[in-house]
C-alpha cells in the first residue's frame, strides 16, 4: 500500500528535517524542553495545518498525511512529535470543526504549540451566558494555549483556553507534560462551543490518532536502534543478532508495531472519511500503538543490555516517551471502555 503522490511529496520534504533539525536536538529537548521559537519554525516548515485544506493555507493531506508526518518526526524526537500531533489534532481540528478562520490562522501561525486537555481527566465545565471551567487536568503541556473539553449539563463543552488563563502548572514531568489547575475560569462564550458532543468526540479521536502515530514512530526508532546494535555488539564470540532470542524480540516488536501502524492509518482514513466508526477505530489504534511502542522500546532496551539503561543511548528516552503516550488524554482502560459500546451496539 502506497501513500498518495501528495503525501509522498510532503514526506519527501519533511524527511530531511529529521536528521538535520530534529535528531541533533532530541536529547536536549527531552531534558530542557523545546526551544523557544520552535513552533514558529514548525510553521515555516509546513508542519502546522497538515489536515487543513490548501485553500486555507494548510497542506490538505488530511489526518492520513498527518499521521505519516507525525510518525516520521517521532522517529527522531518524541517530544516534538507529540506537540505537533496534538497541535494539529486539537487546535487545527477545533478551528476546522467550528469553521473558525481566525482560530485556524492562529493555529497555522506558529505563535506556539497548542495543548489538549481531554474530558477524562476530571475537568468539568458548564455552559451559561459565558462558560466556566472548573477543575484540574493532568498531562497538559507545560506552556501554551490549550483546547479543553469538559462535560457540562447540556453535553460536551469545547473551549480554547489562552495560556494566560490556564492556572498553575506544576510538577513538570521528564516528557514535558505537567499538571495544570484552574478554578472558575471564565471563558468568552464565543470562544467555546457547548453541547457539541460530535465535535468533542472528533477532537478526541484526532488526538488518539496523533498519539498513536507518535507511538508508532517511537517504536520504529527503537526497533531500528536495536537492529543496528544487535548487528555490531558481540558476545560469546559472535554478533548478538545471530542469537534467536534476540531475533525473536526484533521480529515480535516489528510485527506488533506494523499491526498498530496499520490500525493508525486505517483510523486516520476513517476520520478523513468522517465515518461513524472513526472514534472507535481511533481508540483501537491508540490502544494498540501505545502498547506496541512500550513493548518495542522495552525490548530494545533489553537488546542493549546495561547500555540501554544509560543516557549514552537514546533507548531510555524512547521508552519514557512511549510510556508517556499512555498518559496523554486516555489510558489503556479508558480506550477499552470507549470501544465496548460499539461492540454492544452491533451484537446485543
Amino acid at each position: 500500500m502506497n501513500w498518495s503522490p501528495h503525501v509522498e511529496a510532503l514526506l519527501g520534504a519533511v524527511g530531511p528535517l529529521g536528521n538535520r533539525e530534529f535528531a541533533p536536538h532530541a536529547a536536549r529537548w527531552d531534558d530542557a524542553g523545546l526551544d523557544a521559537g520552535l513552533a514558529a519554525r514548525c510553521s515555516e516548515w509546513g508542519l502546522f495545518g497538515l489536515s487543513a485544506p490548501e485553500a486555507s493555507g494548510g497542506a490538505g493531506v488530511g489526518m492520513l498525511g498527518t499521521v505519516a508526518v507525525v510518525e516520521d518526526i517521532a522517529a527522531h524526537s518524541g517530544s516534538l512529535a507529540i506537540r505537533v500531533a496534538i497541535h494539529e489534532a486539537a487546535a487545527v481540528g477545533l478551528a476546522l470543526g467550528l469553521g473558525d478562520d481566525e482560530l485556524l490562522a492562529r493555529a497555522l501561525g506558529g505563535d506556539g504549540f497548542v495543548g489538549w486537555c481531554g474530558a477524562s481527566r476530571g475537568l468539568s465545565a458548564r455552559a451559561e451566558s459565558h462558560v466556566r471551567l472548573q477543575g484540574a487536568a493532568r498531562m497538559v503541556p507545560a506552556d501554551g494555549d490549550v483546547v479543553a473539553v469538559g462535560q457540562g449539563p447540556e453535553g460536551a463543552v469545547v473551549g480554547f483556553v489562552r495560556a494566560a488563563d490556564v492556572g498553575a502548572r506544576r510538577a513538570r514531568s521528564a516528557s514535558g507534560l505537567c499538571a495544570a489547575g484552574w478554578a472558575d475560569l471564565e471563558l468568552d462564550a464565543e470562544a467555546t462551543h457547548a453541547g457539541d458532543d460530535a465535535l468533542a468526540r472528533r477532537l478526541s479521536a484526532r488526538v488518539s490518532v496523533g498519539v498513536a502515530a507518535t507511538a508508532c514512530g517511537l517504536a520504529r526508532a527503537a526497533i531500528t536502534r536495536a537492529v543496528e546494535y544487535a548487528r555490531v555488539r558481540e558476545q560469546f564470540g559472535q554478533a548478538i543478532a545471530n542469537f534467536q532470542a534476540i531475533q525473536w524480540k526484533l521480529a515480535n516488536s516489528a510485527t506488533e508495531r506494523d499491526a498498530a501502524w496499520m490500525l493508525t492509518v486505517k483510523a486516520a482514513a476513517r476520520l478523513d472519511a468522517v465515518a461513524d466508526d472513526a472514534a472507535d477505530a481511533a481508540a483501537r489504534a491508540q490502544l494498540a500503538a501505545v502498547r506496541s511502542a512500550v513493548a518495542a522500546c522495552s525490548e530494545a532496551l533489553q537488546v542493549h543490555g546495561g547500555y540501554g539503561y544509560t543516557r549514552e543511548f537514546p533507548i531510555e528516552r524512547l521508552l519514557r516517551d512511549a510510556r508517556a503516550c499512555s498518559a496523554i488524554d486516555r489510558g489503556d482502560d479508558d480506550l477499552r471502555a470507549a470501544v465496548v459500546p460499539g461492540i454492544v451496539a452491533r451484537f446485543a
Partner: protein
C-alpha cells in the same frame, strides 16, 4: 494508502458470505464431528469460482486479485476452517506455482482442471524428517531416459487422500543442499503412488491429510516445474503467497471466535447483568476486536504487496504470524467468555480453539515466520 475495498471486492464478499452462511456454516459442526471431507462444498466452491480465484480466466480461474482471495478465504474460514484450508491449498499452493512457473502446455493440461474445481490439488514438500528444514529432503528424483524415477515419502499432505494432482519437491542433487531441490507436477492417480491413512488430528478435521508415498514413480520431462535445482525457489515463492492464505484462514477463525463471544456476552447474564457489562469481560472483547482488526489489516497489506508485484516475504510472514497467534488468543478468550459452555461441543468455540492451533504450525511455524522477519530486518 488506500484501505477501502473496491465495489468488485464488496460484491465478492457478499456472494461468498451468502454461500458461507447458508451452506458452509450449518455443516461445520457435523464435518468436524465425523471428520468428514466436505466433497459437496468443494464442488460448490468450484462452481462459484473459489478454487482458482487468482488464476486467469483463460485457464479456468476467476481472474481476480490477491485481495479478493484474502476476502473469500476469510468468509469461508469464518464458517468452517476445514473447508477454508481445502480451498487455500488448491488456490495458493497448487494453482499459484502453476501460474507462476508452468509452461503453456503444463497450464493447459494441469491448471485448468484445478482452477475450475474439476480436480483437486495438493502440495508435497514436508517429509517425516523434513518439516521446517525443507533442505533435508529425502525424496529423490533420479534421471531415467528423458524423464525421472521418483522415490520417497511425503508427510502431512493436506488434501493428500483426495487430490488428483500435486506439486512435488524432490532432491536431484543431495550434495547441493537446497540448490539440489527440483519441483515436479504429478498425477496422483498414476502407478507408483500410494496414499497413507488420513491423519487423526486435533482440529480442521474435515480437511484430510496423509502420507503420500512414491515408489518407482515415473515423471516425464514435461512434468518438470521450473528448472532442475530451482525447486527451493518454487517452494519459497509459493509459501510467501500461501502464508497470505493461511493468514486469511486464521483471520476467519479469529472473526468467528470474536463474533460468537461478543454475541454470547451480550445475551448471557451473571450477577444481574450482561456478561459484557462486567468490565473484565468488556475489556477482553475490546482487546479482541483491536487484534482482529489489526490482523485483517496486516493480511490485506500482504495481499496488496503481492498485487503490486513487490517481494513480500516480510509482509506475508508478519500477516501469518500475527493472524495465527491472534486466532489462538481469540479462540482461547472466546472459550473463557463462554465459561463451561465454551468447553462443550454444543457451542462452536471449542472447535475454533482446536482449528486455530494448526495455523501456527503449517506453511511455516510461528518460529519460522520470526526467522523470516528477523532475517529481513537484519539484512544490511
Amino acid at each position: 494508502m488506500d484501505l477501502t475495498l473496491s465495489e468488485e471486492h464488496e460484491a465478492l464478499v457478499r456472494m461468498v458470505r451468502e454461500f458461507a452462511v447458508r451452506e458452509v456454516k450449518p455443516a461445520a459442526a457435523e464435518i468436524d464431528r465425523h471428520s468428514r471431507f466436505p466433497s459437496e462444498l468443494v464442488a460448490r466452491m468450484g462452481e462459484l469460482g473459489l478454487m482458482g480465484i487468482e488464476v486467469p480466466v483463460e485457464y479456468g480461474g476467476s481472474g481476480l486479485d490477491p485481495i479478493a482471495y484474502v476476502l473469500a478465504m476469510e468468509e469461508v474460514s469464518a464458517a468452517c476452517a476445514s473447508t477454508g484450508v481445502i480451498m487455500s491449498v488448491n488456490n495458493s499452493l497448487v494453482c499459484d506455482p502453476l501460474v507462476k512457473f508452468a509452461t503453456e502446455a503444463q497450464k493447459t493440461r494441469w491448471l485448468e482442471p484445478l482452477a475450475s474445481g474439476r480436480k483437486l490439488g495438493c502440495f508435497m514438500l514436508s517429509e517425516p524428517e523434513a518439516g521446517s528444514d525443507a533442505a533435508a529432503q529425502r525424496t529423490v528424483a533420479v534421471p531415467d531416459g528423458d524423464g525421472w524415477i521418483i522415490d520417497g515419502t511425503k508427510n502431512w499432505i493436506t488434501n493428500g487422500p483426495q487430490a488428483d494432482t500435486g506439486i512435488l519437491f524432490t532432491m536431484t542433487d543431495r550434495a547441493a543442499g537446497h540448490r539440489g531441490i527440483t519441483a515436479f507436477v504429478v498425477d496422483l492417480n498414476a502407478p507408483g503412488v500410494t496414499r497413507g491413512h488420513k491423519d487423526d488430528k486435533l482440529g480442521i478435521r474435515g480437511s484430510h491429510s496423509s502420507q503420500v508415498v512414491f515408489e518407482g514413480y515415473r515423471a516425464g520431462p514435461e512434468q518438470l516445474l521450473g528448472k532442475v535445482g530451482e525447486g527451493f525457489r518454487v517452494a519459497m515463492s509459493t509459501l510467501d503467497c500461501g502464508r497470505i492464505g493461511i493468514a486469511a484462514q486464521a483471520l476467519g477463525i479469529a472473526r468467528a471466535a470474536f463474533e460468537t463471544a461478543a454475541a454470547y456476552a451480550c445475551v448471557r447474564r451473571t450477577f444481574g447483568k450482561r456478561v459484557i457489562d462486567h468490565q473484565a469481560m468488556g475489556f477482553m472483547l475490546a482487546d479482541m476486536e483491536t487484534e482482529l482488526e489489526a490482523a485483517r489489516l496486516l493480511t490485506l497489506r500482504a495481499a496488496a504487496a503481492k498485487m503490486a508485484g513487490r517481494r513480500h516475504s516480510r509482509e506475508s510472514s508478519m500477516a501469518k504470524l500475527y493472524a495465527s497467534e491472534t486466532a489462538n488468543r481469540l479462540a482461547k478468550a472466546a472459550i473463557q467468555i463462554h465459561g463451561g459452555n465454551g468447553y462443550v461441543t454444543e457451542f462452536p468455540v471449542e472447535r475454533f480453539y482446536r482449528d486455530a492451533k494448526i495455523t501456527e504450525i503449517y506453511e511455516g511455524t510461528s518460529e519460522i515466520q520470526r526467522l523470516v522477519i528477523a532475517a529481513d530486518l537484519l539484512k544490511a
